[in-house]
């Protein structure tokens, strides 16, 4: 799908300081060789089977589906992976590449903390030094993940400039990388950034869709009518979409964080409220003002709270191959509550945006429809937020 320069149609590319170009070229060369090297493929496969817990299962959720217009709903259970989300797929791949490149230190940005936890985990497993940059707003709302990363031996740096969220963590990680590129690999956590990151991260997550497509065919005997995923940077979505790109009958639908609603201006819906631009190394869709200054995004979900989106999503949006819709905080939290109550599964708030999407799309398509939903992460990290949202605990029970 990409040109040699990492373009998806008009999107992608490398908008970064020249100082990083040699490292990006090295990374591109090493990952291309690794992709066809039986030793690398075998090692990653072994880790996925014996460490990640792949293949992840699929689960049909009939009681939840009653709220989705009666459509059949199948979840791809990336929440059951080690570390609790799909992020480990990409991180193990990149950590193995870092070792191949002779780099002893990895850095990462994180929003919700899932990618940071996964990176800290891989670093512990493979004996790499690890520094994770996290916006100071996010270290507060995802404090449990900060502790998890520190338990795993990572240094967590709270980023206090700009909006103090994911975008500023990316800026800080890029600054670190420019200064330490000889010893350090930047484990970028989603399908954006300069080439080859969008393509490489997608390829490491592609296993989600490869497994799910075969599992759904095996269970139901036909392809789903639609594949649904939440889209922050868009890595779990690209991962599950990619194997279905050429299945013309399958609709691909991404759900962005609608925050308080598009009309409120407080959201992270790049395809509803954004325009073409460049951020963090890629030409894509960006929330920006008339001057091109980035507009701060808003979402109850730290992992979707990002003003830009992977360039391949921008391409799929403009070509019409995929659709992107906003889901408000309220809608996502209602879907979160429903999945807990009907199926005994506590989803990540990020993934709850895709669940809320299933409730809408199921009602549109009716009871004959078959929906495959990426349950990209589990909600343990969100219990605090949810308890506060639903007023589940009083002061005497330890809520601040």
């Amino acid at each position: 799908m990409t040109t040699p320069h990492g373009r998806f149609g008009d999107f992608g590319g490398r908008y970064v300081p020249e100082a990083l170009i040699p490292a990006l070229e090295q990374l591109d060369e090493v990952r291309r060789k690794a992709a066809v090297d039986p030793e690398f493929i075998g090692e990653l496969d072994r880790l996925h089977r014996t460490y990640t817990g792949r293949p992840s299962i699929i689960t049909e959720v009939p009681r939840f589906a009653e709220h989705c217009g009666g459509a059949r709903v199948i979840l791809k259970r990336e929440d059951l992976n080690h570390t609790g989300s799909h992020k480990i797929n990409n991180v193990l791949g990149q950590a193995l590449l870092a070792k191949r490149m002779g780099k002893s230190r990895v850095i990462a940005e994180t929003g919700a903390g899932q990618h940071g936890v996964a990176t800290a985990t891989a670093a512990a497993l493979l004996g790499l030094d690890c520094v994770v940059y996290m916006g100071a707003v996010d270290t507060k709302r995802q404090a449990l993940n900060v502790a998890r990363m520190r338990l795993l031996g990572a240094e967590v740096v709270a980023v206090t400039n700009g909006s103090q969220t994911l975008k500023d963590a990316v800026n800080e990680a890029l600054r670190d990388w420019v200064a330490n590129v000889d010893s350090t690999h930047y484990v970028l956590g989603t399908v954006t950034g300069p080439h080859p990151f969008p393509e490489m991260v997608r390829d490491f997550h592609r296993i989600i869709g490869v497994e799910a497509r075969a599992q759904v065919l095996d269970l139901v005997g036909r392809l789903p009518d639609a594949v649904l995923a939440c889209v922050g940077g868009g890595s779990n979505a690209m991962g599950i979409f990619h194997r279905f790109l050429f299945d013309d009958s399958v609709r691909l639908i991404g759900f962005e964080a609608g925050g308080d609603g598009i009309e409120s201006g407080r959201h992270a819906a790049r395809f509803s409220g954004g325009t073409r631009g460049v951020l963090h190394g890629a030409a894509t869709y960006v929330l920006q003002d008339d001057d091109g200054q980035t507009i701060e995004s808003h979402s109850v979900s730290a992992g979707l709270d990002y003003p830009s989106v992977g360039p391949e999503h921008a391409h799929l949006f403009e070509t019409g191959r995929a659709e992107y819709r906003p889901i408000t905080d309220d809608e996502a939290m209602e879907a979160f509550r429903l999945l807990c109550r009907t199926e005994g599964i506590i989803p990540a708030i990020e993934s709850s945006h895709a669940l809320a999407g299933a409730m809408k799309v199921g009602r549109e398509l009716g009871p004959d429809a078959l929906l495959l939903v990426s349950l990209s992460g589990r909600g343990d990290k969100d219990v605090h937020t949810a308890a506060r949202w639903f007023g589940l605990l009083d002061d005497a029970e330890g809520m601040p």
Binding site: E18, I21, A179, V181
Partner: protein
């Protein structure tokens, strides 16, 4: 200043006339000294004071002014310039203000280059940005997050409007990348002295001298060195091997802490420094 057809710059077929900046660099070369390039962002501490400061910097001996446009995500800038540009944005600094600053500098008789992250140019429209910059009397653009490989539209617009394009090279640049970057440069090449972001440093390491030497092997375009220079002694040191010495964070700090007088005093020191570099 007159055109100097004998200059290697004039041999560039895309540049029938030298920009004001290129003329300044040629004149400095003829004088046997390095140029002093001083950076300030528009809008810090206010739009008016920043422009006044840029003009004062010309009076105090800066040869070229690098005018920064504050950007929400300045990934090549260290904490000092981040804080200044954040304050500028909070104070309401807009992209339009940069053209006012460039005009003021040109009127004061110095050359102005605009340092900008690429999205601000894209959003305005590359051709429109180039037209506005040329109309204001600017010499060109310094683009820290644009590499020549992605710059097709800018190469065309800069040719159409007779503007210089300053791309960066770094200690990590391979010979191939040096050739690509300098091949697209006009005016000067911005050589990063170190691997890192803007900010003052105790020493400007030997990496700077090495990257300048390797750059000169592939181009005749003047090479200016930036990142880390803050003192007269450092300016003199870098002036010994580069065509220009770029100072940013130290001037921003002086302006922030001591106002225009402090910034002018530092500029005079640095201007003396660039004249001491070559015995």
């Amino acid at each position: 200043m007159n055109l100097t057809p004998a200059s290697p710059l004039a041999a560039n077929p895309a540049s029938p006339a030298l920009s004001p900046g290129a003329q300044v660099l040629a004149a400095c070369r003829a004088e046997g000294r390095a140029a002093l390039v001083g950076y300030l962002p528009v809008g810090f501490p206010s739009v008016e004071v920043s422009i006044e400061a840029m003009v004062a910097m010309v009076r105090a001996g800066a040869d070229i002014i690098e005018v920064g446009i504050p950007y929400s995500d300045p990934l090549m800038d260290g904490p000092l310039i981040q804080r200044a540009t954040e304050a500028a944005l909070e104070g309401g600094s807009r992209v339009d203000d940069v053209f006012t600053a460039v005009r003021a500098i040109a009127d004061a008789g110095a050359a102005a280059y605009v340092m900008t992250y690429w999205n601000l140019v894209l959003k305005r429209g590359v051709a429109r940005f180039a037209a506005d910059l040329a109309a204001a009397g600017g010499s060109g653009l310094i683009t820290p997050d644009l590499i020549p490989d992605e710059a097709g539209e800018w190469l065309a617009a800069s040719d159409a409007h007779g503007l210089d394009r300053v791309f960066l090279v770094a200690p990590s640049s391979t010979p191939e990348r040096l050739t690509v970057a300098t091949g697209a440069c006009r005016g000067f090449v911005y050589a990063a002295s170190t691997m890192g972001v803007t900010g003052t440093r105790e020493t400007v390491g030997s990496a700077a001298q090495d990257v300048v030497r390797r750059t000169r092997e592939v181009t005749d375009v003047p090479v200016c060195v930036g990142l880390g220079v803050s003192t007269r002694a450092q300016a003199a040191d870098v002036a010994g091997f580069a065509d220009g010495v770029i100072v940013g964070s130290a001037l921003v700090r002086a302006l922030g802490e001591g106002g225009i007088p402090a910034m002018e005093a530092l500029t005079r020191e640095l201007a003396a420094g660039v004249r001491e570099g070559r015995p």
